[in-house]
């Protein structure tokens, strides 16, 4: 099966700024693919390269096997849900949604019908006559989605689509987006800086930093086996320890240990408690072990030592992940 999107050594440099630097990537057909990274890490530029708003300064991009360099956005079978939705303010909801068909020359009756269908898909039937300005953030989000879907694209690009929504609405939209993607069988490429969102929604995640992909893998792989310190720290805030202290590997290597894998153990090593924060489900302990600071998440039902006291801790060495690279 042909991959939906492939990058071969793709770079996008702006003068001396390497926004995207020699990225290799393949996104499978029908996959929910997340690009995760802090702002300025190159994830949005990658999205714009797929959409065609940017052209690579080096390398090759293919969309379903077809070379994409030099192809303008309006000739690509790819549609985008923009960060602030970018709904046309001079059109009502129906005209917004039907825009893609209008520029293709589809007749008015036909495109009204298609727009109504698309609105139904995002559970906004009957909103066609409203203006974009009269809608709530969540509703605008749905209109933007319907507008992107009406052209029946094979790849849908979503640029931080949930960033402007409040937490509850965001969680609801996460579920709906995932359901919709599975139902339509489309490839979704989703850009976010929220690691929870990326891990919970995506089939595979690419973690970006400084224009390069640090790691690509399933959510579990990324979380359990981060291959760089950056990934370990950015995804789920890991303890990054010298390998000998963690009890695995050789001197000079680094290991990642998740805070929830640290347990209180009377037979364990002695550490000093420097901070104690009760979070409800868990108690977060800040510890110093052999001069190395460390975080532990202890289930709330267990008694935890106070600040200044000693805590005996241990962990299962099988839970420690040795990293390939330090960077």
């Amino acid at each position: 099966m042909t991959d939906a999107v492939t990058f071969q050594g793709v770079s996008r440099h702006f003068g001396s700024v390497k926004a995207v630097d020699e990225v290799d990537l393949s996104i499978r057909d029908g996959e929910f693919f997340a690009m995760l990274g802090p702002s300025g890490s190159g994830k949005t530029t990658c999205l714009r390269l797929i959409a065609g708003f940017e052209q690579p300064t080096a390398g090759h991009i293919a969309i379903f096997g077809e070379r994409a360099e030099g192809v303008p956005p309006y000739l690509r079978n790819v549609n985008t849900v923009f960060q602030n939705y970018a709904l046309f303010p001079h059109m009502n909801v129906r005209e917004n949604v039907a825009f893609g068909l209008r520029v293709k020359g589809v007749g008015k009756a036909e495109r009204s019908r298609a727009a109504e269908e698309a609105l139904e898909l995002v559970e906004l039937s009957g909103y066609g006559d409203r203006r974009a300005g009269e809608l709530s953030g969540g509703q605008r989000q749905r209109v933007a989605l319907a507008r992107a879907l009406i052209n029946k694209p094979r790849v849908v690009l979503l640029d931080e689509p949930l960033g402007a929504l409040d937490l509850k609405l965001r969680e609801q939209m996460q579920e709906e987006l995932r359901k919709l993607q599975l139902a339509l069988g489309l490839t979704f490429v989703f850009v976010t800086h929220d690691q929870d969102e990326a891990l919970s929604m995506a089939d595979r995640v690419a973690v970006f930093a400084e224009g390069k992909i640090q790691q690509i893998g399933t959510s579990e792989e990324i979380y359990r086996c981060p291959n760089t310190r950056f990934v370990a720290d950015f995804v789920g805030s890991s303890n990054v320890l010298p390998a000998d202290l963690a009890g695995v590997g050789d001197v000079g290597q680094w290991a990642s240990l998740r805070p929830e894998d640290v347990v209180l153990d009377p037979a364990g090593r002695e550490a000093t408690v420097t901070g104690r924060f009760f979070h409800g489900r868990v108690t977060k302990l800040s510890l110093i072990l052999a001069g190395q600071s460390l975080t532990a998440l202890i289930p709330a039902r267990e008694d935890t030592p106070d600040v200044g006291e000693a805590a005996r801790i241990s962990w299962d060495p099988a839970r420690v992940h040795l990293m390939e690279r330090e960077a």
Binding site: A51, G52, F53, P72, P73, Y74, V78, N79, T80, F82, Q83, N84, Y85, A86, L87, F88, P89, H90, F99, G100, R102, V103, K104, G137, R140, R147, A148, N151, A164
Partner: protein
């Protein structure tokens, strides 16, 4: 805090005085358009008549001057709409070397005294052996008309989010469709306002016209010449009244068109 309807009497008087000072001369011009005395301005007018309107309508020189003014204003405005919009699009949409300089240079003609623009154009015309024609007047007027359109358009371009253009292209609209279906509707009111303002400014322009018209007569120039003649003075007033109406209405319309829509189109912030 004190509310508006409790401002001190002195302030009210001053505001009233200011308005009288600004508007009384205009009211007098309207009044004398109906005076029966045709050789001098007498206070109070000895009698009132409507005959000057008829006389004005019957004078060929008024019609010729009016036609020239309308023609010049229409051409200059159209020229300004095209060039001003394109310049605004370039300055607002892309970054290039010398952008700020160009932005300043475009606005400069309106800061420059009209007499400088006039003299420089006139010497340029005579250096290049260009005979005076409607087009030389149009060139002179276009210098400030472009600025007006540019200023209106550039402000609107800056408020229109670039993401809208991306969105249109993303949905399959090529350059022409994007311009027609997305850009134009978003800047239309700004262009209309700029165009009306430019038209009004061109219509009553005197200084630059004096230098670029040769012996052609636009309406304002005609009025200037008419003032030194002793007969049928109220005709000038009737024409003045017409000019006020032709220029004030577009300016008012322009004001109302640009007053709304303070939000940035296509952004939620």
């Amino acid at each position: 805090m004190h509310s508006d309807n409790r401002s001190p009497l002195g302030l009210k008087l001053a505001a009233f005085g200011g308005l009288v000072f600004l508007l009384a001369p205009i009211a007098l011009i309207f009044l004398y358009a109906f005076s029966t005395e045709e050789k001098s301005f007498q206070w109070p007018p000895p009698g009132y008549t409507l005959k000057w309107i008829g006389v004005t309508l019957g004078r060929k020189d008024v019609w010729e001057a009016m036609a020239l003014s309308v023609k010049v204003a229409a051409i200059s405005t159209s020229l300004a709409l095209i060039l001003g919009t394109l310049t605004a699009a370039a300055v607002a949409r892309s970054k290039f070397f010398g952008r700020e300089t160009i932005s300043l240079l475009v606005i400069l003609p309106i800061a420059l005294p009209g007499i400088i623009t006039g003299i420089s154009l006139r010497s340029a015309f005579s250096l290049l052996d260009i005979p005076f024609s409607t087009w030389t007047i149009v060139l002179g007027h276009a210098t400030f008309c472009i600025v007006i359109v540019y200023n209106n358009a550039v402000a609107r371009f800056r408020r229109t989010s670039g993401a809208l253009i991306d969105a249109a292209m993303d949905l399959g609209a090529d350059g022409v469709q994007t311009f027609r279906l997305v850009i134009l509707p978003n800047i239309a009111t700004a262009l209309l306002a700029g165009g009306m303002l430019a038209f009004a400014l061109s219509f009553d322009e005197v200084i630059v016209t004096t230098f670029t018209a040769g012996n052609q007569t636009t309406l304002p120039i005609w009025m200037l010449e008419e003032l030194v003649r002793p007969r049928q003075r109220p005709v000038t007033n009737v024409v003045a009244m017409a000019v006020v109406l032709v220029t004030v209405l577009p300016i008012l319309a322009a004001y109302y068109l640009t007053k709304d829509g303070e939000h940035t189109a296509g952004s939620d912030k």
